[in-house]
Amino acid sequence: MNWLLIVLGGMVGAPLRYLADVWVTSRLGTGFPFGTLVANAAACVLLGGVAGAGLAADSPGYVLLGSGVAGAMSTYSTFAFEIVRLGEEGRAARAVVYALVSPVVGVAALLVGLALGRQG
């Protein structure tokens, strides 16, 4: 059952990240990887909400929404590659800012989600 839920969650989360990236990039351009930042932040709010609501890590709701949707909506591989690419393009300052800002935004978004989940 959990295997079905993780696959379903992944099948929803990954395209949400892709569509968010396309949407954000079309508005803010490709100079800074805002799309991935937004998708990662949104996923952190969602996972925080699921964890804050007190769902056990092996419960169906957590597996579907937390491990599946939020896990696949967020990405580390694209984040790391964007840093390497910015570095190769000679935009070292942007690479460093992106590398520093993303974890801070991610943890802050997670705390927001945790607070929302505990209320709801």
Partner: protein, 151 residues
Amino acid sequence: MHPPGTEPHHYDEPVDPDLDPAHLVVVLAVSLGGGAGAAARFAAYRLTPEVWATLAVNLAGCALIGVLVVLTTEVWQAHPLIRPFLGTGVLGGFTTFSTYALDTHGLWAAGDRVIAAGYLVGTVLGCVAATAAAVALSRTLVRTRVEGRRP
């Protein structure tokens, strides 16, 4: 198709190729890849305690994206659905930023503040190093192979 090393790297191309989202087939490729990647991550959690599984998954995924991008932009004229499926879908679904943030918070809340800070910073450094090393190693191996073929 140019042999590797004879053309500039096409890194203007976004990691998530900016194809028209109206092309539902791209969204479908990302979705199928995401399901597979998330399942592979779920499998990893069965092998080790979660925080170390997440670190291992993220390091592996970050190395693989480096290999994938070199192969699909500098070696092969990849089919336009390969990057959305394998990069955005499988590797994006496999790796996770949300669990990384939750793990950091969990370590911090448990009082392991030094470990939490080390995990937060160390994952960034380790993953960027894994990607950069994979890109460099892939280029070296590809170049060696191509040069070995020349008469």
